[in-house]
Each structure stands twice: as structure tokens, then as C-alpha cells.
């Protein structure tokens, strides 16, 4: 009997262990290639930024793709996460003087603070935004992002308009920061997948599909719209915290509306409404943009052409509504569940 339980446990956790193992193997492979000098730190850093962009885009997907809101101020949440976490490691603690055993804990704490602070702002923006819809909501969120950026310029303690240098590069390329980034990326994917395929995620989808019908099904649409904003913001905030500790320098202009637009492009190019779309879109476009860097000023023109072509030939995004099967939790009765999953796109 005991043995059977143990077996069931193993079967239950097997996929998770599998994914964790795959992530570790991936990390070791990249580390190996880096040490063999096949990959320069530059490439590894692109990969890390790609993963961060994935995190932010996944959060945006929850707000725009799953819950059907139209937020375009995601960079504001990234800024909050970056600055609040940097405040922890530079102002609150003298990070570099901490004993080596404490550093990971303080760093984890800083990322949590970044996520939490961004979540608070997610609530502050999500709450009043409920009164406006569609284009108007977009304008409010855009304005919000810009307000955050302007406010930061006035906070002398974090460098104001000059930016904040000297943040410990604890997640930097050279310090094995890829491991941290992979860890938080995997956690984000896992949490968001579980969230989307819970009753809360379905409630979010119902807000997108038909708010009135959702209410008549007993869904408190206000709760779930705000919740989506908060969760999406926490994700962006955590990514911002990592970003600050990769580069070691943050500046208000890194979080302008241009950055917000990037995330939107990633999401809609990849395929809005699916996590696969967010991941593929953010990753591939981050890499494409880097590859095109040698074109200097021509880069954005080519990038624009690529996007237009994609919208013409693949209007629903690269993934066009298909979700990676491992991103849909298995149910016993659902042996033949459809590929579209609950997101229905």
C-alpha cells in the first residue's frame, strides 16, 4: 500500500522533476559552452535578457491576453521592481560587505520586494482602471508608466535623473546569473500556468469573453481584473529586479513607453492569449533585434518590415493560439483535451 502511494507520488511529480532536470541540463550546457568559449558572455547576456522579456510578456499576457484588458504600461511595473529591489541591495544593505552565505538570501529578498512593490502598483493602477475600458484603459496605463518614470526622476535617494549606478551585479553574466534568471523564469511559467488553469484563471478568461455573462455566472469580475493586474505586475517587477542586478545600473529612461511597446510587440507577434506565444515572441524578437544590431540605423526598419510581414502572413502570431502541451495541466478525465486549452485562442 505504502509503495503504491509512493509510486503515485512519483508519477505525480515526475513531470515537474522532468522540467526541473531539463532546466538544469540546459543551464549546464550553456555554462559548458561558455567555458569552452563557444558562447561569449555577450550571447549569454542576450539569452538572459530574452528570458526576462519572456517574464514580463507572460505577465502582460495574463492582463491583455487572458483577462482581455488592454494595458500598455508594463515598463512602469518593471521600473518599480528594478528600483525597489536596488534600494534593498544598495540602500538597505551593503550587499558586497555581506557574508557570502547571506547574499543569496538578501538577493532573494530584494527580488521579492521588487515583485511585491510592483504588485502594489498593479493594484493601484488596476483598481481605478476598472472604470475605463479598451482604448481609454490603454491611455491610462501608458500615462501611469510615464508618471512612475517621472516620479523616479525626483527621488534623489535612487539617483533621480542621473540613474542609479553601483547596484551589485549579483545576477550578472559572470557571476552565474543565468541560473537565477532561469530559476525565476521557470517559476513564473509554472505559477502562471497553474494560475491560468485554476478557477481564478478561468474567471479571468470569462472577463475577456463576456463580462456580463461572467457576472451572471457568479464571477466577481472586478476582483479578477484587479488580480490579473497585480499578478502581471508582480511578474514584471521580479524581472525588473533581476535586470537591475544583471547590469548594475538603472536609469529612468530604460523604462520608457518605448520599452512598454516592445512587450506589446513581443506578445502580439508571438500570439496573444497563450503562454507559448508570449515566450516564443519575446525570445525570438529579442534575438532577432540583437542579430540585426550590425545594421545600425537600418535595424528598426528591418524589424518593422519583419513585423508587418508577420502580421500579413501570420496575423494571430507565431503560435496562433496553440499552447505547448506541457503548459496545460493534465486531468484524468481529459485524455483527449484540445490543444487550445482554456485560453481558447
Amino acid at each position: 500500500m505504502k509503495e503504491r502511494n509512493a509510486n503515485a507520488g512519483i508519477r505525480r511529480y515526475a513531470p515537474m522533476i522532468g522540467v526541473a532536470a531539463a532546466v538544469v541540463v540546459f543551464y549546464l550546457a550553456i555554462e559548458y559552452l561558455r567555458q569552452a568559449r563557444v558562447l561569449t558572455p555577450y550571447y549569454v547576456q542576450i539569452l538572459m535578457f530574452g528570458l526576462l522579456n519572456c517574464m514580463v510578456t507572460l505577465g502582460l499576457n495574463l492582463i491583455n491576453g487572458i483577462t482581455g484588458q488592454f494595458s500598455i504600461g508594463q515598463a512602469g511595473f518593471v521600473a518599480v521592481g528594478a528600483y525597489s529591489s536596488a534600494a534593498v541591495t544598495t540602500l538597505l544593505f551593503e550587499f558586497n560587505k555581506l557574508p557570502a552565505t547571506l547574499q543569496p538570501l538578501v538577493f532573494l529578498f530584494a527580488v521579492c520586494v521588487g515583485g511585491f512593490a510592483a504588485g502594489v502598483f498593479g493594484y493601484l493602477i488596476g483598481r481605478p482602471s476598472l472604470r475605463v475600458k479598451g482604448d481609454y484603459l490603454a491611455i491610462v496605463t501608458l500615462g501611469f508608466g510615464e508618471i512612475i518614470r517621472s516620479l523616479i526622476r525626483y527621488i534623489e535617494a535612487v539617483g533621480g535623473p542621473r540613474g542609479l549606478p553601483g547596484i551589485p551585479q549579483y545576477a550578472g553574466v559572470r557571476g552565474g546569473g543565468l541560473a537565477w534568471v532561469l530559476f525565476f523564469f521557470t517559476l513564473t511559467v509554472w505559477f502562471l500556468r497553474n494560475y491560468i488553469y485554476s478557477f481564478r484563471g478561468r474567471a479571468c478568461v470569462s472577463c475577456r469573453e463576456d463580462e456580463l455573462a461572467a457576472e451572471t455566472m457568479g464571477v466577481n469580475t472586478t476582483t479578477y481584473k484587479v488580480q490579473a493586474f497585480i499578478v502581471g505586475a508582480v511578474t514584471a517587477g521580479a524581472a525588473g529586479a533581476l535586470q537591475a542586478h544583471i547590469i548594475g545600473f538603472i536609469h529612468p529612461d530604460q523604462f520608457s513607453y518605448v520599452r512598454s511597446t516592445d512587450f506589446l510587440v513581443y506578445l502580439y507577434a508571438g500570439g496573444v492569449g497563450t503562454m507559448s506565444g508570449a515566450i516564443i515572441g519575446a525570445m525570438s524578437l529579442t534575438i532577432v533585434l540583437e542579430i540585426l544590431r550590425f545594421l545600425a540605423d537600418w535595424r528598426l526598419i528591418i524589424y518593422g518590415v519583419v513585423l508587418v510581414l508577420m502580421m500579413l502572413y501570420q496575423p494571430n502570431g507565431i503560435c496562433s493560439g496553440k499552447e505547448f502541451p506541457f503548459l496545460i495541466p493534465k486531468l484524468k478525465a481529459a485524455a483527449k483535451s484540445s490543444k487550445a486549452g482554456v485560453t481558447g485562442r
Partner: protein, 257 residues
């Protein structure tokens, strides 16, 4: 015995238009009530007030002895009132099964963090939910459409799915807004049987709006007639049918059902 639903002098104004004026009705547990009346009489508006969508400008809605006026829409559902819409409002892009799952929203409860980690208990609950929903679909002969996108289903199936979705909230009172719209006589006949079966099978009280007299006469215990927002007549179907005021409102002078 107190009635399950007791509506008193309910009224609503849209600017200059008194869409509904001192409407009242009373339904006991297990009864089937009907609301009839010409187009634009205010029938759907009454349903909208009974589900919290429009806040009435006058009157009370007592449900199991409690006045629900002023509650949010989902509060009405929580108290046990479910409905279908005149112009079907399914979650079109989602499968039939997911439509039902969303309707079970109030019946699924687990914490935010257990949900994020998808603990064993959460996973078990989600599996149970899948089975509950499949069985609801099965009971309404919709099992074969479980994985089909709602928007792709035939019209009649969509109507049935909307009823299934309303029932999935485990209501005590089911409001059906023109369930027979667009159906041919045989289908209407079938629907009459289905409605009676639903009342017994799901132990619900039903209030329906219909233009098909044949259906209203066949299933309703009690009929209320509205015209231009006013309550014209009420009573047993046979009484209402021969009430001269009603006949006139519906068919003009000299008309006959």
C-alpha cells in the same frame, strides 16, 4: 409559507421612458411562472432587474425572504438566481466544457497559493470539477460537444448549452428568456418536455419569457402579462388566455388565440 420569489412594485425608468412600472409577481418553490407580452413590453428588462443587471428605480425583490435590490450581479447568482439570455451569450471562443466550468466558479474554492503551486488537493478538486461538468453536459445530452468551441455549435445546441451553463451554478430559480426563439413546432414541443424535466431533475423553480403560447400554456402554472411596462393581467394560463384585456393587447380587438 413564504414564496421563493416575491417581487413588489418593481419599476425602472430610462430617462423619460418608464420601461417597467409597478410590476409584481410571486413564485413558490417548484412552480413554473411565465411572463408574456408584446415586443418591447419590458419583459427582458424585468429579468435584468431580477439578476441585478439593472438596478430598479422602485420596488423590492425578495428572494427567500431577503431583499436583493442593490446587490452586485454576481451577488444575485450567489443567492441562487441563474438565467439565460434572449440573444445567447455563451463564452463563444471557449469549449462547451469550459463554459460549464466557469459556471461552477462559485463551487470551486481553494487558496491563492495552493492554486499557484497546484497542490495535490487542488489537482484533485480540478479533476472532480471536470467530472462534475462532464456529467452536467451528459444530463443535458451535450456530452458529445464537450470539447467543441461554443460558437461552432448549432443554434439549438447553443441554447441548450446556455441552459446547462445556468444550471451549473446550482440555482434555485432559473430564468429563461425566450428559450424557444427560432425553434420549429416539433422543437418547441420537445423543449416543453425538457423544461418540465429540468424542474424535476434539478429541483429548480422556473420563470420564463415566451412568445410561443403553446409552450406557455403547456408548462406554466402561472402567467403574468405585461404591456408597455405595465402589468395587464395574471393568473392561470387558461384564465389569462380568455381575458379580453390580454387578447386585445396581443391581437387587437376581436383577436383570438
Amino acid at each position: 409559507m413564504t414564496a421563493l420569489l416575491e417581487v413588489r412594485s418593481l419599476g425602472i425608468r430610462f430617462g423619460g421612458l418608464q420601461a417597467v412600472d409597478s410590476f409584481h409577481c410571486r413564485l413558490n418553490q417548484g412552480e413554473i411562472g411565465g411572463i408574456i407580452g408584446p415586443n418591447g413590453a419590458g419583459k427582458t428588462t424585468i429579468f435584468n432587474m431580477l439578476t441585478g443587471i439593472y438596478p430598479p428605480t422602485a420596488g423590492e425583490i425578495f428572494f427567500r425572504g431577503e431583499n436583493l435590490v442593490g446587490r452586485p450581479i454576481h451577488g444575485f447568482t450567489e443567492h441562487g438566481i441563474a438565467r439565460t439570455f434572449q440573444n445567447i451569450r455563451l463564452f463563444k471562443e471557449l469549449s462547451a466544457l469550459d463554459n460549464i466550468k466557469i459556471a461552477r466558479h462559485m463551487k470551486v474554492k481553494y487558496g491563492f497559493f495552493p492554486g499557484l503551486f497546484r497542490t495535490e488537493a487542488v489537482s484533485r478538486r480540478e479533476n472532480e470539477l471536470e467530472e462534475e461538468c462532464l456529467s452536467i453536459l451528459e444530463r443535458l445530452s451535450l456530452a458529445q460537444y464537450a470539447r467543441h468551441k461554443a460558437s461552432g455549435l448549432p443554434y439549438g445546441v447553443q441554447r441548450r448549452l446556455e441552459i446547462a451553463r445556468a444550471l451549473a451554478t446550482s440555482p434555485e430559480l432559473l430564468l429563461l428568456d425566450e428559450p424557444a426563439a427560432g425553434m420549429n413546432p416539433q422543437e418547441v414541443d420537445q423543449l416543453s418536455k425538457t423544461i418540465l424535466w429540468i424542474r424535476d431533475e434539478f429541483k429548480v423553480t422556473i420563470l420564463l419569457i415566451e412568445h410561443h403560447m403553446q409552450l406557455v400554456m403547456g408548462v406554466c402554472d402561472h402567467v403574468t402579462v405585461v404591456s408597455f411596462g405595465k402589468l395587464l393581467a395574471e393568473g392561470k394560463p387558461d384564465e389569462v388566455k380568455v381575458n379580453p384585456v390580454v387578447v386585445e393587447a396581443y391581437l387587437g380587438k376581436g383577436g383570438k388565440f
